[in-house]
């Protein structure tokens, strides 16, 4: 096995490990707490109820009905915001860990071509895919590009497999504008 392909597999492995690490940290700090479990159940129940209500409502529905839905939406928004706050703790911890980890990996893989791309990336993507690499071959793949692709695909699938992803109804409702989900997003 060539060194380059060994690097390719290593990065996939690192990505799986960091995704599990992120979920592990989140589990310790967030998922296993009663507050989170309670809030999550509330949000899921409310958003499913709200969705059903919105489906059955008609244009000519009375003001009372619409007001009721507005109130429920407000309540759901507040719960979602509380849920995001609870997750913030783990996001800070993960952010911290990952900054350190990425610093370490970047220096380990500095200048190393970890894979060959079967396509030539667009010029603004090359800033990422050819980062810290020497030479002009734009099909050379840098650590960070492969790592980001791996994380995007692996993280969300791991969350879904472990049953940690929030339900679709819950993610459809708007939550706190400043708090986004982790890099790979959750569905």
């Amino acid at each position: 096995m060539s060194t380059m392909f060994a690097d390719t597999l290593l990065i996939v492995f690192i990505s799986v490990c960091t995704a599990l690490l992120a979920e592990g940290i989140t589990w310790v700090l967030v998922y296993r707490t009663d507050k989170y479990k309670r809030l999550k159940a509330e949000v899921e129940k409310q958003s499913k109820k709200l969705e059903k209500k919105k489906e059955t409502i008609t244009e000519s529905a009375g003001r009372q009905q619409k007001k009721k839905i507005e109130r429920q939406e407000e309540k759901l928004k507040n719960n979602n915001r509380d849920l995001s706050m609870v997750r913030m703790k783990s996001m800070f911890a993960i952010g911290f860990c990952f900054t350190a980890l990425m610093g370490m990996f970047n220096s380990i893989f500095d200048g190393r071509v970890v894979a060959k791309l079967p396509f030539t990336p667009l010029s603004y993507i090359q800033g990422l895919s050819h980062r810290n690499l020497l030479g002009d071959d734009t099909t050379d793949c840098s650590f960070i590009f492969l790592y980001i692709l791996c994380t995007m695909s692996i993280r969300q699938n791991i969350q879904k497999i472990l049953g940690l992803a929030p339900s679709r109804a819950a993610t459809k409702q708007p939550s706190h504008p400043m708090v986004g989900e982790s890099t790979a997003g959750t569905h």
Partner: protein
Amino acid sequence: EPSQLQLANGALKVSVWSKVLRSDAAWEDKDEFLDVIYWFRQIIAVVLGVIWGVLPLRGFLGIAGFCLINAGVLYVYFSNYLQIDEEEYGGTWELTKEGFMTSFALFMVIWIIFYTAVHYD
């Protein structure tokens, strides 16, 4: 039933798979159906990634090919094969979007891995 796997959000119960291939199956749980679409997409991503990497199929053609096949196969599946009402799920676009970005990223990873392994190892 002890033989059935009960898993949480996103993961599928074993009994769901028996519905997947039956065109007249009734999908009571919307989320269940969307999860099937999601995982179907991931499987297509892996299969195409391997084939494209081994052939090899390079460049924009590979990417466009993936997008078309991924969207196309699923579209044929949910609109023709299954008798479901797309409007119930938010329309064709919502069904097309379901799991697409993750499957695209997965496809890229598999494509890159197999291309590197077969042609540069």
